[in-house]
């Protein structure tokens, strides 16, 4: 395990992409940064630009209009990048799977490394998902 790989595991910078989510998962993501959970203890922080990100966190059911933006964001991200599908919508489509503008869950368009189900997933579940992602890296 090289030094850069150690650094990668110790410092995950997350870019959060809302691909048509109802904002509920997004609020739970912010909960993870709050004093009770404080994921900065593990070096995880939110960044403003996907160019600085190590994890692309996608929430939402991916409506048709969002597909080009989702793919472009993934292509712009510097590799290696881990993609996490957040929430029931991100993993499967959830209650929107029969919607007229539903364009498939996240893994139909970009490769996904970890799935965090739940509607919305609890902060504990998000942290558990990140731990499983770390085991995979």
């Amino acid at each position: 395990m090289g030094l850069t790989h150690w650094g990668f595991k110790k410092s995950l910078w997350v870019f959060h992409l809302n691909a048509g989510a109802c904002n509920n998962c997004d609020i739970e993501v912010l909960d993870c940064l709050c004093p009770k959970f404080d994921v900065e203890r593990f070096g995880i922080k939110l960044v403003g630009s996907v160019k600085a990100a190590d994890v692309l966190l996608v929430s939402g059911s991916v409506p048709r209009k969002v597909v080009p933006q989702l793919i472009e964001t993934y292509e712009q991200a510097p590799k290696p990048i881990a993609v996490v599908a957040l929430g029931a919508c991100g993993c499967t489509g959830g209650i929107f799977k029969d919607g007229y503008n539903f364009a498939g869950p996240v893994d139909k368009h970009i490769p996904v490394d970890a799935y965090i189900p739940g509607c919305p997933p609890r902060p504990e579940a998000i942290i558990d998902g990140i731990v499983k992602l770390l085991g995979k890296l």
Partner: protein, 312 residues
């Protein structure tokens, strides 16, 4: 030849690149930890900034379409080099008394290079948000440089035959007591801390890299190793500016015996003041920042200057 080798060691190892980078990264950990404690969180472990930089070194560098490659890639490196030179000059002056006439001018000049580098890099990146950030950074430089230079000239004025040598200011303080013991010194120090806030682009003056409105602004297109250089430059600035203020106003750096403890305490005190200002203030708009620096802060700096001329 031996002196050339010594200079290489000075610039690359001890007071220069490696030392400044290591202490700068540790200082940025202090920054993050104090911020976390202010927000009632636990905060990251001490090696966090090192892990960040190592990780960034292993990532891909994405160069945006339409960007000017050379300007985009070399501007941050120029900023890093400037900080290394400033740090080396300050430490050599403090520890060995080597200086030259006008080295203070050199330090003030070199300390603007990182900001200028970010302006050039952001303008070369062909990103509209980065351009907004660059334009704001430019206005911010125009705003804070005037009071910053007046405050530094206050320290120059207080030395009886006025001198632009840093070691002259240090000798004056060794004989007559520190600058902070006088009213004008305190005023100049306060002005310097406020300008440091803007130089580091920390809140309330983080307008060029506002995360919520222009998504990191000047840094938006940087990734991989070149982002590591940008982060390293910021960390080294956070180390160099307090050392400059200690040198000019607080008796200088002393690495013998109990002096080490005092130096570290002075340094941590200044860093903590900067971090506390950062954590307790909201971001202002660019016009408010310019008005603040050209109005009250410049007036305060001029008052300090007049007091210094009167010998207070």
């Amino acid at each position: 030849m031996a002196s050339t080798l010594a200079m290489v060691v000075y610039f690359l190892v001890f007071p220069g690149f490696l030392f400044t980078a290591a202490v700068g990264l540790l200082t940025s950990w202090v920054d993050r930890k104090v911020s976390a404690r202010v927000q009632w969180r636990v905060g990251p472990p001490w090696y966090q900034p090192f892990a960040d930089v190592l990780k960034l070194l292993g990532k891909e560098i994405v160069i945006p379409e339409g960007a000017r490659r050379a300007g985009f890639l070399f501007a941050p490196v120029a900023g890093l080099a400037a900080v290394v030179v400033v740090s080396t000059m300050l430490w050599l002056t403090n520890l060995r008394g080597t200086g030259f006439v006008g080295d203070l001018i050199g330090v003030v000049y070199l300390l603007t290079i990182p900001s200028l580098g970010m302006i050039i890099g952001a303008s070369a990146s062909s990103n509209p948000l980065a351009s907004v950030g660059a334009s704001r950074e430019m206005k911010l430089i125009l705003a804070y440089e005037l009071p910053f230079i007046i405050a530094i000239l206050t320290a120059v004025t207080k030395v009886s035959p006025m001198t632009l040598r840093i070691d002259g200011i240090l000798e004056h303080q060794a004989v007559n007591g520190v600058m902070l013991g006088s009213a004008s010194g305190v005023i100049a120090f306060i002005v310097c801390i406020l300008c440091a806030q803007a130089k580091l682009t920390y809140p309330p003056f983080d307008i060029p890299e506002a995360e919520t409105e222009i998504m990191d602004g000047t840094h938006i297109e940087y990734s991989g190793a070149i982002l590591a250089v940008v982060k390293l430059t910021q960390a080294m600035m956070l180390f160099t500016l307090p050392v400059l203020f200690i040198t000019l106003f607080w008796g200088g750096v002393d690495l013998t015996g109990i002096g080490i403890l005092w130096t570290v305490l002075k340094y941590l005190a200044i860093v903590t003041i900067i971090v506390l200002i950062k954590n307790t203030n909201p971001r202002v708009k660019i016009d408010q920042a310019v008005r603040f620096f050209w109005g009250p802060v410049t007036l305060l700096a001029i008052v300090g200057m007049v007091l210094a001329l009167l010998g207070l």
